[in-house]
């Protein structure tokens, strides 16, 4: 029974990791990709480790240390990356352009 619960948690964690990857693909610029990557993958890590704790209850203290370590280091590393990206002035995407919505209308009028 606990194995089923553990497996479900691991599966949900893997789904979060996949969403992190998908987010990194879809997001427009470096900063937004960092955001998608950090948040989803941290929670994915935590869920997978908790799922493993269901399988091996004897390891739960060690896994707790691991979860805590991941929570402490993931945000710090993404902050360092974002700060460096800002320092070398990577172009940042603005809000999605509004002109796209009216372009077909202009083409129809012009043509």
């Amino acid at each position: 029974m606990s194995e089923v619960a553990g497996s479900i948690l691991v599966l949900i964690g893997a789904f979060f990791h996949f969403s992190a990857g998908l987010g990194m693909l879809r997001m427009p610029d470096a900063f937004t990709r960092m955001q998608a990557g950090t948040k989803a993958s941290t929670l994915g890590n935590a869920l997978i480790l908790i799922g493993i704790a269901f399988y091996h209850p004897g390891w739960s203290l060690k896994l707790l240390i691991l979860i805590y370590f991941v929570f402490m280091t993931n945000p710090v590393s993404s902050h360092a990356l974002a700060r460096a990206a800002r320092a070398i002035r990577i172009p940042m995407a603005g809000p999605p352009p509004q002109a796209l919505a009216s372009a077909p209308a202009a083409a129809r009028d012009g043509a």
Binding site: I65, F69, M72, T73, V76, H79, A87
Partner: protein
């Protein structure tokens, strides 16, 4: 769309290879004779539950000494190839626009994390004979703590004299324990110079914990010296 076709074909071929390997994989149910004999001998003769550490630090301990010597040669070679700053003039011009002091957040995080990493490395080293771990692994974790300190504070000076002296001392002690094995027990680096103790206890398996500690210290110092050379 046409640009993505070669990538799609490459992914498909990789998936095919992976599927062939995964389907054709048959799990071994019995150990090969050599492995079988090691699995039988290590807990029985050496008193260590971790077979790998037993092999590394007693049956094939001479190889381990050779590996440590190779690490030392790597450190010396890196020190020779990457000279001290004197040629730093060409680099600093291009770095000046990108170099900035490390963020306060990274510095604080490094200060909090380094003691925790250090105690975890000590745990890995000391538990080499009971569970997974050992000297090499713990030494690499110590080096990662040093790397974190260097990343957070690039101007931090590492005391390389202290590191070199510690590393050489650990190496000398390692060989001395080996020679003691020649005199007091079965051969060079035999672990039975110290009592075998109770199987699976913390202080057991003879000289293996001692050798693990010496190995961990030596590997940690060497990797830190290599990192220091790269930083300058």
């Amino acid at each position: 769309m046409m640009q993505r076709l070669p990538s799609a074909i490459a992914v498909l071929l990789l998936a095919l290879i992976f599927a062939t390997i995964a389907i054709g994989h048959a799990e071994q149910t019995v150990l090969r004779p050599l492995a079988e004999s090691y699995v039988r001998l290590v807990p029985h003769e050496l008193g260590a539950p971790n077979v790998i550490t037993g092999i590394l630090l007693t049956y094939r301990a001479f190889d381990t000494l050779g590996e440590v010597a190779v690490l030392f040669m790597v450190a010396a070679g890196v020190g020779l190839v990457l000279k001290e700053p004197g040629k730093a003039g060409a680099r600093s011009a291009s770095d000046s626009e990108a170099a900035q002091p490390a963020s306060e957040i990274v510095r604080t995080a490094a200060q909090i994390l380094v003691p925790l990493i250090a105690i975890f490395a000590a745990y890995i080293i000391m538990n080499g004979h009971i569970s997974a771990g050992g000297g090499f692994q713990g030494g690499a974790v110590i080096a990662s703590a040093v790397l974190l300190m260097l990343l957070a504070d690039p101007s931090h000076k590492l005391n390389s004299v202290f590191l070199s002296v510690t590393e050489s001392l650990a190496g000398v002690l390692f060989v001395l324990v080996g020679i003691a094995g020649l005199i007091f027990a079965g051969g060079f680096l035999d672990n039975r110079v110290l009592p075998l103790g109770q199987f699976g206890a913390f202080f057991s398996a003879g000289a293996i914990p001692l050798l693990s500690v010496l190995l961990g210290v030596k590997v940690g110092c060497e990797l830190s010296v290599i990192l220091d050379r790269f930083r300058a």
